[in-house]
Subunit: 173 residues, 2 copies
DNA sequence: TTTTTTGGTGTTATACTGTAACAGTATGGA
DNA sequence: TCCATACTGTTACAGTATAACACCAAAAAA
């Protein structure tokens, strides 16, 4: 990723803007570490390493992609290895599943419980998570009227990120 | 489904309330028919029948469930049969994919282009589609700031519908 | 009319995604 | 020490989805 410094927290889709990705990783990892010890949950090596792998980029990674990496790095090679780590990380709110892609991204705002909203590039699969509360009051009202109890929700928007849009404009490849 | 009459269009999650499901089916099917001939698209027997099957209930149906039904009813038996029909129906906006379930539901508002919002019961898989515009202005703004062009978006809320909530309250089964 | 193109169907084969179930290991109480 | 719990390793399998090719019919072009 790009190395331009941007200290301000904008609350916007930072992933798709130039930012210091090293900072990005450190911030999230530290926060996860802190939360895990606070909650007395077992942040074991596989689990930690799975999170580190997902943090390497803002693109969503499929479970079997993660598995391949875990295997290369000396952890197990069978599907449950990856799925168990992912289940743990999702339970802790450290990782989200991007349903549209059947793939996973590290949560960029692990300190807040939230309804995630994703901007998903259909071309490069990069995923920007926003920390906007995307649940309109109207949906809650609908749910109440239907006697439906919302437990968790998510919003996914698919489209083209800036870089991929540029490519499509100038198809000189 | 239940047979209580309810002529009013409420704009709410009708699927999870008592309603005349026959009316429901007829309304959607007629509208699809109309739109298909208007748009000069080929509403072939498999495609029509796939929509009819999905309309039978408000529960989301997996692709292989649809395939089984199509096979029983004399259409092909191989996966592409179902997936092609589904692709067509989704392109036309007659069907939505509920990503959380890897399953499909007939669109209850095929006359409007919209960003669908689903209330998904984690217990019985019933899906209520609302016609609320769930895209908060904030997300659009985020997208603009990130240079991201939203092409389609969707909101999914998982929880418990009224009936399943009752069952969990009184676990006397 | 003949030819070509287009769009839809039928089929095979295969890739990707996810989970059940059981065995083994380590750790921390009772 | 015994037991319970939680995590890991592995096999086997179930469910989801698509690529690719052959076939056919109807529409469009020659």
């Amino acid at each position: 990723m790009v190395a331009t410094r941007q200290t301000e927290r904008t609350g916007a889709a930072e992933a798709m803007r130039p930012h210091d990705h090293g900072d990005c990783i450190r911030r999230v990892l530290d926060e996860a570490e802190r939360r895990a010890s606070e909650d007395r949950v077992n942040f074991t090596p596989v689990r930690r390493h799975a999170l580190e792998i997902l943090l390497e980029s803002h693109a969503a990674m499929p479970a079997y992609g993660l598995l391949k990496r875990l295997d290369e790095d000396g952890f197990g090679s069978q599907p449950p290895v990856a799925y168990r780590a992912l289940d743990f990380l999702m339970e802790q709110g450290f990782v989200h599943k991007v349903e549209r892609l059947n793939a996973f991204v590290a949560c960029m705002y692990p300190h807040e419980t939230h309804t995630p909203a994703f901007l998903i590039c259909r071309n490069c699969r990069s995923v920007a998570e926003t920390c906007v509360a995307p649940t309109p009051a109207a949906l809650r009202q609908e749910a109440r009227a239907a006697g439906f109890a919302i437990e968790r929700s998510m919003m996914e928007a698919e489209g083209l990120c800036r870089d991929c849009a540029r490519e499509e404009d100038a198809p000189c490849d």
